[in-house]
Symmetry: C2
């Protein structure tokens, strides 16, 4: 999930933003993970756009994808060319309107963009966890966000929204804390990992592990598995696109004609240059162990685990659920998302499916984010009505 | 493409088969490749099932996929547990009936299963080509098969059939040698590489290159890039399956419960064990440089190159063309194959599309090969009729 080049229209922008940090846990009261591991200190990096009202019930939580961060809107510096990844739908008068809502965007547990992850110092040793970082799950990510909300004074989440892994967190929020979540909007996502997505993640991890610099995860005194992480990212990018957008953007356009010998770097096609560049870019901004840990959390994702299965989990949900599928998504195919919506309805959940028409593949939730505006405004108006009536 | 465990029914089997070899080329008359490189010696390993008639016009050519071989039917030894990959459709009374047809199955140029490839000795040095193996194309593979057919006395190819890369060769045969090909049957294939399939191949090559043992291709005095090649194969296998068959076979079945720490080999799921095993198996039977060279040939595949584009290439074809798409194929989606059939018809080619209903993904051409029987028998009866009438 890339940050976004800022467009020309700054009207409504949340402006300059900054990262905040909230820490909980101690040696005596560690955060106990679903898999049984513990963390003595949990740091959550987050950003806030808008103001929490006095009753603490106008909050929206935004959860990000695999390699994302807390930076969903605005800019860190006035001259920064990049805005947060959902900048076009967050701000004054934008679908996620900061005049009305207090938007909280945490960095997920297990990552490397400010929150506790494998590169963080283990309080017991003072050195990075590396191979000793415990297994985490999407449910752990959600449970680690709850103390942050308490700290901020949030009493209700009007909406939990996220795409991809962010949507997985939205599903978990609705099942883990049904009493405080009014609505969820998972986009291009699923309540349970698919076998195919698991297979892709496995290949990505294997690419990292095949790099001798991975050193079983204890590489922080070396260069790290840069080549392996780059390959992992390239694989991921295939799943974020679709053949249609690839054909339009790159097709078989060659940078090196067939009449020349194979280039020494085996890059002949524009498609290859694109993937190489995406691989290079990620290596500069992401930690390989975090990639391992977070992709594993995705693979372990199942909102029905230890809850009697998916249908039983759906029955716990009290939130209004808007499931958005992307028509060209190959990672979370729209027919699967639609099927989840139907299964949720069958279990009695208040679920609706809406399909985003796009030929950008999974990445459409970034590339064509403004298409999310109308269904989001509709969803927010639906959940607002009962509250207004009760006043 | 794996060889097949032999089923119980041996009736009709072609029985014990053996590899044959045909060599052409010399320092004075090298084989000149499409990209400009040359090979002073071209060895083609092949197998023959059935007998060529005196007029040399009952031959069928079978072309294999990326990691395939010439071993399409029968067994090498009586006690071998494995038969050729299309054993169920090749033999007496089987769809490709060896009582009637002489079936020729060559190993493709650039591979490592007997024909000349990067691991072959370069006649100029006596050492393996390695990094000095020239760029080859699908067209080169086809052109290298022509002298073999002349050597065998084949005057007409009644049918060129193959799946995946084998289908690419079938397309090339129909355009390169329109005068001697009566029919082609590409299965789960395309007349031109897609951007998405190119992207997958790039990731596979990058996985190999990221392995320090690759040594730019000159690794024959070392262990070779085994870890990288295994990762490449795993990526490939995802594209040969589809989510449906993965869910049925593996789903999220874990071999290691979540309550245990992450295994040191990061294998928790049955899906992962399957991919690991496929990776391991390939490393024992395939050369990494061959994987690089042949996957590049696939990426360069375009029957319209230097021929005025695809439509112009279609107009050259005089063969009857039966295009088979597999309903669950993610590598060569059925709608793309159908679209090619329509474009061929629009260009005046005698093309028909038939869809194989299967939920095995691309691999269905192996797993459910007997489903190919009826359309193949139909095709063969169609091309036989004019010949019989001419007698």
């Amino acid at each position: 999930m890339a940050e976004e080049m800022l467009g020309g229209d700054a009207a409504g922008s949340v402006g300059i933003v900054q990262r905040e940090y909230y820490t909980f846990g101690s040696a005596n009261e560690p955060f106990v993970l679903e898999g049984g591991g513990t963390l003595e200190e949990v740091v959550t990096c987050y950003e806030v756009y808008g103001t929490l009202n006095s009753s603490g019930d106008n909050a929206i939580l935004i959860a990000h994808g695999l390699t994302g961060s807390s930076h969903a809107a605005g800019r860190f510096k006035p001259d920064s060319p990049y805005a947060g990844y959902w900048d076009r739908i967050i701000g004054k008068g934008r679908p996620l309107d900061t005049d009305r809502w207090c938007i909280i965007a945490p960095n997920a547990l297990g990552g490397c963009r400010g929150s506790t992850g494998p590169a963080s110092p283990d309080p017991r040793t003072g050195k990075p966890y590396g191979s000793r970082f415990p297994t985490i799950t999407i449910r752990d990510m959600v449970r680690a966000q709850r103390p942050l909300l308490d700290h901020l004074g949030v009493r209700r989440l009007r909406l939990v929204i996220g795409a991809s892994m962010g949507g997985m967190q939205a599903f978990e929020w609705a099942v883990t804390y049904p009493d405080i979540v009014d609505a969820i909007c998972p986009i291009g996502s699923s309540p349970i990992q698919s076998a195919q997505a698991l297979a892709f993640n496995h290949c990505m991890r294997r690419a990292i592990m095949a790099d001798p610099e991975w050193r079983n995860g204890d590489y922080y005194d070396g260069p790290g598995p840069r080549a392996g992480l780059a390959v992992a990212r390239m694989i991921g990018h295939i799943t974020y696109l679709c053949d249609d957008v690839m054909e339009r953007k790159f097709g078989l356009r060659t940078s090196t004609p067939i009449s020349e010998p194979e280039p020494s770097d085996w890059t002949r096609f524009a498609m290859e240059e694109y993937l190489d560049e995406e691989g290079r870019l990620l290596v500069h901004r992401f930690d390989a162990n975090a990639y391992m840990a977070v992709s594993r959390a995705i693979d372990l994702h199942d909102i029905g685990r230890e809850r009697g299965g998916l249908a039983a989990a759906y029955r716990r949900i009290r939130a209004r659920c808007l499931l958005i599928g992307i028509s060209s998504d190959i990672l979370f195919p729209p027919e699967s998302v639609r099927g989840v919506g139907e299964a949720m309805q069958a279990a009695g959940a208040d679920a609706t499916y809406w399909e985003m028409e796009s030929n950008y593949g999974h990445d459409a939730f970034l590339e064509e984010q403004t298409k999310l505006g109308p269904p989001l405004l509709q969803l927010l108006s639906e959940i607002e009505t009962p509250l207004a009536a009760a006043r």
